[in-house]
């Protein structure tokens, strides 16, 4: 019983450290938020008039769920960065050499990242509401959609922890170069139906697309549908894909963490 209590305390202490960072050095939070907000403005208001939504509908309504998805996916870069910095600076070693619960280290990371991402979603949603995005199928459905985004974020925490233990902070910084296209070869900005055949397949099966498509459905936003199985079953896949990530990267992270002592 004590072990559970200590794990809970340790998680909170580790999470609190990160949250204090964000409160005291808000520059990074703003930097993280600036990109999606500017993108919403550029794509929504500048390119928006030239953009087509497959099946018709307002582009801003189509865009916002995509932006939520991209913000969530970029979160993996944040986790990756924090984990590799802690490992590089010897903080991880100090944690390991202390009697603290090892669950606390990763659970704390998850809590901090989920709080941070929730905040980003909230700010982005408010920004969307101002420029004309809305949800049309009730608050409950909207909340389920946000829960799906956070479920994906939770899965990506594990991807971030694994990769963060694998690479140095300098390499972690470069992860944006890969994240950027990965979040664009999806249904985030443009309907896959309007892409060339092979890219369309990639985009439709991109795990991010499933969450974004499911969210569009739950928000009552346009651009839902498509012929592929992935597009037809986006809600199911929005639950399954993150589960697959967790199933792969949770044990990999635990193994990697243990193997730090090799």
């Amino acid at each position: 019983m004590n072990a559970v209590r200590f794990a809970a305390i340790d998680s909170w202490v580790v999470a609190k450290r990160d949250l204090i960072h964000w409160v005291r050095e808000p520059v990074r939070v703003f930097a993280n938020l600036a990109y999606p907000i500017i993108s919403v403005l550029i794509f929504g208001l500048v390119f928006g008039s030239a953009m087509n939504v497959f099946g018709g509908g307002d582009y801003i309504e189509f865009l916002l769920p995509g932006m939520f998805g991209q913000t969530i996916a970029f979160g993996v870069g944040t986790t990756l960065m924090m984990v590799s910095m802690d490992a590089d600076r010897g903080v991880t070693d100090r944690f390991r050499a202390s009697p603290m619960s090892q669950t606390g280290v990763v659970a704390g990371r998850s809590i901090a990242d989920l709080v941070n991402s929730s905040l980003e979603l909230l700010v982005l949603a408010l920004c969307g509401l101002v420029i004309g995005w809305s949800f049309h199928d009730g608050l409950l459905n909207a909340l389920v959609a946000f829960a799906l985004f956070l479920w994906l974020r939770f899965a990506l925490v594990w991807v971030g922890i694994y990769l963060g233990l694998l690479v140095k902070p300098e390499a972690a910084q470069a992860s944006w170069m890969f994240l950027f296209p990965l979040t664009m070869f999806a249904n985030t900005f443009v309907s896959p139906e309007l892409m060339p055949g092979w890219l369309r397949a990639v985009s439709e099966w991109n795990p991010l697309s499933s969450t974004v498509a499911a969210a569009r459905e739950l928000f009552g936003n346009p651009g839902v549908g498509g012929d592929s199985w992935a597009a037809q079953n986006s809600l199911l896949l929005a639950v399954l894909w993150p589960a697959v990530f967790v199933a792969i990267f949770w044990p990999l992270s635990v193994l990697k963490y243990r193997n730090l002592s090799r």
């Binding site: 340790d10 450290r17 204090i20 903080v91 070693d93 100090r94 009697p99 002592s261």
Partner: protein, 316 residues
Amino acid sequence: MGVNVGHAVLAEGLHKRFDKKAALDGFDLAVPAGTVCGLLGPNGAGKTTAVRILATLLRLDGGRAEVAGHDVVREAPAVRRQVALNGQQSTVDDVLTGRENLVMWGRLYHFSKRQAEARADELLEQFGLTDAAGKRAKHYSGGMRRRLDLASSFITRPSVLFLDEPTTGLDPRNRGEVWREVKRVVAEGTTVLLTTQYLDEADQLADQIVVLDTGRVVAQGTPDQLKSKLGGDRIEVVVRTSEELPVVRDVLGPDAEVDPDAFRVSVAVADRVAALTRLTSALAAKGVEAEDIALRRPTLDEVFLAITGHKAEERA
């Protein structure tokens, strides 16, 4: 408790390989409780590997080790409760204040919130950081950060403290501050295992020095024992002009070392008095008037060179 109650750290035949390279190759160590042991050696000698194994951070491939009476493999959690590790880099959190850093570690060592705060204030006082307690650590000097890092290792008054190159990158004044704190915690009964590349640091702090090279112990003893091991004393002659350097060199023999910048020639001698007498008469016969002649114990730098065949800083 293990059998070796008198030894706070005991290692027997430690082996550790990284890929194909042996980092530790039959490393033995015995540190009596309440003393400071300096692990000395160049980069890559295996110092950090040894400390990480003893602090339960690395698994060993062979041999056995006991720290604070507990086996580092079978009783790792018990070891962790009694040791603290200060690595090469500072783990101080820059954004948190000094006090918040210590309270965080107190909480992670499972003190209640109130206990953690009380302990933090005690430690700030002991390590001379009370005035800076409310300042964010990023505004601390290098020495203050090190002291805060040390303080965070003292949350539970560990019986064994591992210090991995504690003053690397600090200026002399800050080094002095850290040394003072280390001496203080030793006086309070903590056993310290210290790795360093700085020979004067080992000289200053250590009761016992263990010289490590390519993963094994090549020499050990007190600083004085190590110095006398090197054939006793050195004789040093400082001359006025560089033309006189080769003349003095000829007098002192083939082992003499010439430092042209300092106009100095030095050599190890077995019998100091006889050597001095011989030297002065030989110099007089050659018409050399020395600026200074000195007899001194060798520095640890010279000990290191003599034992390992290379200088401490080389072979990164």
